[in-house]
Subunit: 177 residues, 2 copies
DNA sequence: GTCTATAGAGGGATAGAC
DNA sequence: GTCTATCCCTCTATAGAC
């Protein structure tokens, strides 16, 4: 019962699952549908993934890991543009996963990672405002993070580089007050 | 087979459904759970609501109606603080519903209202930027809307009036560039 | 207006052949 | 590594008594 192997078939299964879930939401997609799109049967999936949850987790994990790694490079008093830029880059690089999560955040609860995302926000707020910040400062950071994530998904047609600059400009303008 | 009646039991069913869905997500809550919390049996729900979808829709509809009514009061060249303030008020007044939607947006697809929400954003962007806006301007409006919705939910402990002012200050600072 | 009972569908997961 | 066949579970929804 190998778990989340990196065989070629496993990759095709992951790709099919990602596409379907991004469109329909996590809980609207059954293993039968995924298997059909790949061109195999349900039990075949269980050769590559220990369970449904195991499959879903393997979709999200690379994104989680990259954000964690990015945040780990910063500490208190970090430069806002660099910190938010690193977060944007991770969200944009995995924007297929980001879109999937934004469409149905319950996927995070499903793989028990909702607390991780909450942590990200709290850590960014702390790094950018210090301890015991005023409500106004917390609001500005929260709006920057929330809006940033939105833009990687709501404006899919926009070219990457200008979008990145526009988002960071707006976020930094808001934070500078 | 009455639909979405306003009897007292129907209200208790709606309240129970809202609480459960806000915590677990739409598709993690069954009619059995809702019925148990209310203290009745499943078939009793079907006396008050034509279907599962009918129940869910009756939860979201008042919020949708209020936002639509708020947006209808504005047109091209609207004052950003007033327009976003009206949107904030609707989101905050129904913040239990807003939280439910943000936790699991697939609820919108479920009741076929995702397009309505997309429309809101487009209409607000158009009213605040005019036609054929630059990417930078669209980004700022999208970030303002997204961040605004986030803050009504991410900062549940904050008192309403100061939160409202802080959010609108931040949004307007960002838009003024 | 609420109950018991049940139909009917579809889901996740496993056994065992090949 | 993939298949056929199957188990067991939970769900939505309905029928019909009270």
């Amino acid at each position: 019962m190998p778990r989340a192997r990196t065989t070629e078939t496993a990759d095709r299964i992951r790709a099919a699952a990602l596409e379907l879930i991004a469109v329909k939401g996590v809980h609207q997609v059954s293993l039968r549908e995924i298997a059909e799109r790949v061109g195999v049967t349900k039990p075949a999936l269980y050769y590559h993934f220990a369970s449904r949850d195991d499959l879903v987790r393997s979709l999200v994990q690379p994104f989680i890991d990259e954000v964690e790694a990015a945040l780990a490079r910063f500490g208190p008093g970090a430069d806002p543009r660099e910190l938010l830029g690193a977060y944007f880059d991770a969200a944009y690089r995995h924007r297929d996963v980001t879109a999937m999560i934004m469409r149905d955040p319950s996927i995070l609860a499903m793989v028990d990672l909702a607390s991780a995302v909450g942590d990200w926000r709290r850590r960014i707020v702390t790094m950018l405002t210090g301890s015991d910040p005023a409500l106004a400062d917390v609001v500005r950071v929260q709006m920057a993070i929330g809006g940033l994530g939105d833009c990687t998904v709501v404006l899919p047609g926009a070219p990457a580089a200008p979008l990145r600059e526009a988002v960071l400009d707006a976020a930094c303008d808001m934070l500078r007050r």
